[in-house]
Assembly symmetry: D2
Homo-oligomer: 153 residues x 4
């Protein structure tokens, strides 16, 4: 639906709701993280490999604009893309849509590469950087698969 | 793998880890809830319908035995079944397994049906009860589908 | 420390850390909420009274800038103030500081008053509005009390 | 109120509620952890010192019995004590009470000491063990201090 964004479907958990009867606003940042993890898998370099190679991608800034609430048991889709790729930083951009494709949240996270041992900012190594350069130009995707696959009986 | 249990796969979220480098123990009860929600869908009466019909299924007791830790980005499977079905209560039983099928957690939750309006215990209405009676005798299932389906490109 | 901001101390919970060994970034929005709840108490109109009177103060936008990480068992202070007060909206501004008074996070949340029954934006009633007008001009405060008070033995 | 238990007060956070309008059951295990952290401080050996000395106290089993729900903005008290102390394991027991002193939750957690480097069970070193032996015989305490201390203006 959003060109260049990678989609992943999630089913809203009961624990993610609050007493307003909708998803609590602090849950969406967790979903954004699920979105960029899925994007890193699709790009061929899962984020877990970053940490295995001694690089943390630390969140430096988060912006969330809440348009409409998600509700328990809804299937929502998190759409993620790499918007900017610097020598030491990455900016991700997101859309979250509801079951009917309606826009729930627009968001952005800014990250800094940090050396795991020293705790200091570091240049992103080429082998981690290249897959995200590819991700910058991902071809349009179709609809994501459903969030809660049924088992083959 | 576990006869009579309904499986659902989840991918471990970064936010679910703690500084021990593994999933925090308070996260597993959230996954159990995901498991029984999936079971209620499979049984043909999603839990959301319980609340729509004015019945809450409140957690009265939780027992978790932690065998091995789950880790970030692991695909884990939550296996759920209805173990007992009383006139006002339901007991669920669970197993959580890791990527290699190793047992991570054994658990049990006991629930009480509560009238949404009065807040008092209530008899489970037949239309909510029947699907769980069926769930008591679910046929063995095969392997669950993967947690993070790739989109059809 | 920050003039016009209301401080509340918290002790970092183990469950709030992640496998980087620091507080997960999705936890700070929860602390901001604790901060504005405390501010609403200090202003004499606890947020719970808003909901009791049929008005939700919904989060429309969240901006968090992460400067330094908080760690398990740290005492952190959340400083909150009302920055803007419109007829239907409120903007809060925050600082979070660590045990040594070092700046950890700067943040802002934008809220919309919503009628609980209709779900539509609504004008903030005078009795809810007045305490926040006072809060706009809160006198400077001293150091907040410790996060984990010891019991009187 | 409960002899031999160490009390700590908490104010219920909005994010801790769910769409039933009460605290979600997965939150109480987090509060139990806050309770035993506070107990470890009171006993003179904060849990953070365990990890600094290379010992994790891993949760092996959790039992929670939910009697009554806590609600947003309530002040609740978590009462914790060391019930058993083995060479490699510790059993904690808890009560959680509401604003009126009513019993909300009874709980128990079983822990295993694990060597941080090897990941294997280990004997609890004497310097970590001794404070908990003292904690087994803590004198009765009075009422805990309030959860949200007001700043000295």
């Amino acid at each position: 639906m959003f060109d260049g964004f990678f989609p992943i479907r999630l089913r809203v958990r009961y624990a993610e709701t609050d007493q307003m009867g909708v998803v609590h606003h602090s849950v969406y940042p967790v979903w954004l993280e699920v979105g960029r993890t899925a994007l890193s898998h699709a790009a061929g370099m899962p984020y877990i490999e970053w940490e295995n190679r001694g690089v943390y991608l630390v969140v430096a800034e988060l912006v969330c604009r809440y348009r409409r609430p998600a509700r328990y048991d809804d299937e929502v889709t998190v759409w993620s893309r790499v918007r900017e790729l610097g020598s030491r930083r990455v900016v991700f951009e997101y859309r979250i849509t509801g079951p009917a494709g309606d826009l729930l949240v627009e968001a952005e996270t800014r990250h800094l590469a940090v050396d795991r041992a020293s705790g200091r900012p570091t240049v992103i190594p080429p082998e981690l950087r290249a897959p995200f350069e590819t991700a910058l130009t991902l071809p349009p995707v179709g609809d994501p698969a459903p969030a809660t696959p049924r088992p083959a009986r």
